[in-house]
Symmetry: C2
Subunit: 155 residues, 2 copies
């Protein structure tokens, strides 16, 4: 299948300068980040300030060569990359649901709970609509054993 | 900023042959789809069958030229594209959280509640972990006025 070519719609300005500064998960961070949407896409933000949360799709441009199985910060086992949130995946497209704190002018948004490092390309922004995303009766595979740890570390 | 090049990790086999056959939202469909992951990425699926739901990131290869503001099936107003789920977006990367029905062999997964048409490239698969995605105190902007319609149409 041919390669797919995408143009970033903007860039993330973040206090995390490199991977070692960024948290394992965005929800572990209370830092503020700014999403700068490029001029040519600004009209696509019409009325976004009515939403309390947005979904950001971003490209982990500093991810390492991908592995198909990896360990995670949560335990010492090898897991299939598609059962993890590791940025070192075949296509390092990351997704975060974040609170939209404010809109500044026509093309800047401030958010928090984001793990992205400074300069990360933004590929898409979507509305967070729980009716479409929230599921019941969920089984979490290997992650069930570590979920308690995640909650404990969250501030 | 330079273009970003991605290689699909698989392909979706779906009963929807074209856009007019596909539902507006995956949750409106009870049809079964098969995700075929290419051989070279199959090892990344290790232990995925332990998860009841997965997140699929796919590329809407039949999306039309994008618009920055668009109407939706839900009302007659123009909305910023980044406040909608329209596939006609600058980067037509779509996200669905779907129930994982079964794993067939080492590289095929069956799912439902998916709006993708046959032949859609799969870019990524992620675990669905409510602790990372589910938010409280949500405001839905213009979508609040149409949410009742969505629920009514869902089977």
């Amino acid at each position: 299948m041919p390669k797919i070519e995408l143009d970033p719609i903007g860039i993330i300005h973040s206090p995390f300068r490199n991977r070692s500064q960024a948290p394992f998960q965005g929800i572990l961070s209370d830092e503020e980040c700014e999403l700068e949407i490029y001029e040519e896409y600004a009209d696509g933000l019409k009325d976004i300030e009515g939403f309390s949360h947005i979904i950001i799709v971003y490209y982990a441009h500093k991810s390492e060569k991908h592995h198909l199985q990896t360990t995670t910060p949560w335990d010492t086992q090898l897991h299939g990359i598609f059962t993890t949130c590791s940025p070192n995946r075949p296509n390092p497209l990351l997704i975060s649901v974040v609170p939209l704190l404010s809109r500044i002018g026509d093309r800047r948004l401030t958010v928090t709970n984001l793990d992205a490092i400074d300069g990360t390309p933004i590929m898409d922004i979507k509305p967070y609509i729980p009716e479409l995303i929230v599921k019941q009766n969920v089984r979490l595979g290997w992650f069930e054993k570590v979920a308690i740890t995640l909650k404990r570390e969250k501030k």
